[in-house]
């Protein structure tokens, strides 16, 4: 195999290699430029840190004579703002829980793990981060300065020497080219040292500004407690709904049956024709009771989910929706039954809302599975303005979704269109 390759395509191999080299060079250039950009950004936040650090030193000195103690909370706020700037730069705030408010009094500040870590960060970033930033900025500047030296050396007096460390006499182009050669060295330093320096500069921020580990778990626990409560709430709400539909629906129908039967029995002797008519109504009422019982059962766990999976169940919902509705389901395999049931109810509730409140002419349901997440989307072209507080069942959707550790977003500007997005972990 190697032999045949070498015979068949030396040209191809060569051009492949060239392409690979070119790609590697391009990547290198890009990472270097990124690194310089990061170092410059880091320099910016380190300047802020430096200012805050000097402030901290002053406050520290003032503390020695006592008056500084009053300034500690304000200093802590300054520390927080410097830290937040770095958090924003490192995009730390996106996924992680935000720190709690800075404590307003001295003891709280000294005890707060966030503030302590932020203080440490400010000290490191103001010194090492600042140094790295300055170095990171000067490396590429020097490279440019040295490399371009042959172009402008004649404008300078020969005794002046070259840029930076070049203090010897420059006599003519050869000397200038030597300086340019040094510039190549600076460039190499920029390319090789830039990325690790940028990483090093970001390290204190990543380490010290992320939530302290114990804080992280406690927040997670709080979140889990909340979603667990939401799950129980959703469950209770669900039971209440079932109780309502049994008492006010099916049971009322059956009571009507007994009332009508009672009336028919009394009428049977007096007026047989009327009795027959009443019996007819009684039968209708019994049929209604059966229909409502079926609806209640469907509301508890739709049998169709078991029989035909999410696709069939959602198709059924779309067909039953008075607003024309398209369904697109791309879910390979099955999700956990509770997740499918939740997805079904979300769509059912959403389509009920579309039909009742939106005034839409079309609706679209799309369901996709990406890795371990089930993504649901319900769009309509109605008047929008859907509101969680308006008793529209949206609160119920949110509770059910959050009970599954899922995400729920609703965009419904006045005038429409409305988009409901739900993401559920598949749990299978």
């Amino acid at each position: 195999m190697p032999r045949r390759d070498s015979v068949a395509g030396p040209v191809t191999v060569g051009s492949d290699r060239a392409r690979a080299v070119r790609r590697r060079l391009r990547d290198r250039a890009r990472t270097s430029v990124d690194a310089v950009e990061q170092l410059v950004g880091g320099l910016g936040t380190s300047l802020l840190s430096l200012a805050v650090f000097l402030l901290l030193l002053l406050v520290g000195l003032a503390c020695l004579v006592g008056v500084g103690l009053w300034l500690v909370p304000s200093a802590a706020k300054a520390v927080r703002s410097a830290a937040d700037r770095e958090r924003a730069r490192l995009s730390l705030a996106r996924d992680l829980p935000a720190p709690p408010r800075v404590p307003g009094e001295l003891r709280g500040v000294l005890r707060d793990p966030w503030t302590r870590r932020e203080g440490a960060f400010v000290a490191v970033h103001a010194t090492i981060g600042f140094g790295l930033g300055v170095l990171g900025l000067s490396l590429p500047i020097s490279a440019v300065q040295y490399l371009l030296f042959p172009l402008y050396f004649w404008m300078l007096p020969p005794d002046e020497g070259g840029p930076g460390v070049v203090i010897w006499r420059i006599d003519g182009l050869p000397d200038a080219l030597v300086v340019a050669l040094l510039g190549v060295g600076w460039l190499a330093a920029t390319v090789t040292l830039g990325p690790p320096m940028a990483r090093l500069q970001a390290l204190p921020g990543r380490r010290l500004l992320a939530p302290p580990r114990d804080v992280d778990t406690s927040l997670r626990i709080a979140e889990l407690t909340a979603t667990r409560a939401a799950a129980l709430d959703a469950h209770a709400v669900e039971l209440r709904r079932i109780e309502r539909s049994l008492h006010d629906g099916a049971q009322n129908r059956l009571v009507a049956v007994t009332v009508l039967l009672g009336a028919a029995r009394r009428a049977v002797v007096r007026d047989p024709a009327q009795a027959a008519e009443i019996l007819d109504r009684a039968q209708q009422s019994a049929e209604l009771a059966l229909a409502e019982l079926r609806a209640v059962v469907r509301g508890i766990l739709p049998p169709v989910l078991d029989d035909r999976g999410l696709t069939g169940a959602l198709d059924g919902l779309a067909v039953g929706c008075p607003v024309p509705c398209t369904v697109e389901v791309d879910v390979p395999g099955r999700c956990a039954a509770s997740v499918e049931a939740t997805a079904y109810f979300v769509v059912a509730e959403a389509l009920t809302n579309v039909a009742r409140h939106s005034g839409a002419t079309t609706a679209a349901v799309t369901v996709h599975r990406r890795d371990d997440r089930l993504r649901l989307r319900v769009d309509d072209d109605g008047r929008g303005g859907a509101d969680e507080g308006a008793g529209s069942g949206i609160g119920g959707i949110r509770r059910r979704v959050e009970a599954h550790d899922g995400r729920f977003t609703l965009t419904s500007p006045p005038g429409g269109p409305t988009t409901l997005l739900v993401e559920l972990p598949c749990g299978s």
């Binding site: 008492h247 006010d248 009571v255 009332v259």
Partner: protein, 219 residues
């Protein structure tokens, strides 16, 4: 007898009206919300109001609230409350507005037309009609060491029938015993409950209900 009905379920409302009209009773208004009910009562001043417990907007105890309010406005109004299920707190709320001219029945009792009509008439005539289910629950809830537990099984039966509002003769017929036997049971019940012996229907129903109320409050 002039009747106003408050029931939010259309089918049931019309069925009930049909039934009552077929019995030559005068259904002067049928309403489906507490507000329309109260204005209908104000406008027609009926003899009896038949009220469903669960009505809009929240479908919880609007009917009870409306019934109590109607009785406050018209102290002579007889009220028969219908409920899908038994809830003693509803009964207690009602009883707080006075124990005469008052009924509290499960909805399905309407189908037993004779008994329902009897209850309706009893309430309209100043009596009481409490569903056997309510009484049974109150018994079930009473503590083992309470006074109620000292009653014999037969005495409990008599007491529940008394609570339903039946007179001695009716109780005797229900239990297939003589009037005298019923009389003896009632005296024994009164003795055990520490009440003065008294045969008058309203007084003894009042006493029984007061006692049941107490039993519930304690237990």
């Amino acid at each position: 007898m002039r009747i106003v009905i408050a029931e939010d379920d259309a089918l049931l409302r019309e069925g009930m009206a049909l039934l009552l009209r077929a019995e030559s009773l005068d259904v002067v208004a049928t309403t489906d919300t507490p507000t329309t009910f109260l204005s209908a009562v104000d406008a027609h001043v009926p003899d009896v109001a038949i009220v469903d417990v669960r009505m809009p907007p929240t479908h919880t105890d609007e009917g009870i609230v409306a019934a109590v309010e109607a009785r406050r406005r018209h102290p002579d109004l007889a009220v028969l409350v219908l409920s899908a299920y038994v809830e003693q707190t509803f009964a207690t709320d009602l009883l707080a507005s006075g124990t005469t001219r008052l009924g509290y029945l499960l909805k399905e009792r309407v189908g037993r037309v004779e008994e329902f009509l009897a209850a309706l008439h009893r309430v309209a005539d100043g009596g009481t009609a409490i569903d056997p289910e309510v009484v049974a629950q109150l018994f079930a809830r009473s503590r083992p060491d309470s006074t109620l537990s000292r009653l014999s099984a037969r005495e409990r039966e008599v007491l529940s029938l008394m609570a339903e509002g039946l007179g001695n003769t009716a109780i005797a017929q229900r239990l297939f015993v003589t009037d005298g036997a019923v009389h003896k049971h009632i005296r024994s019940i009164f003795a055990k409950l520490g009440l003065a012996p008294d045969d008058r229907a309203d007084r003894r129903v009042t006493a029984v209900l007061r006692y049941l109320e107490d039993a519930q409050r304690r237990g």
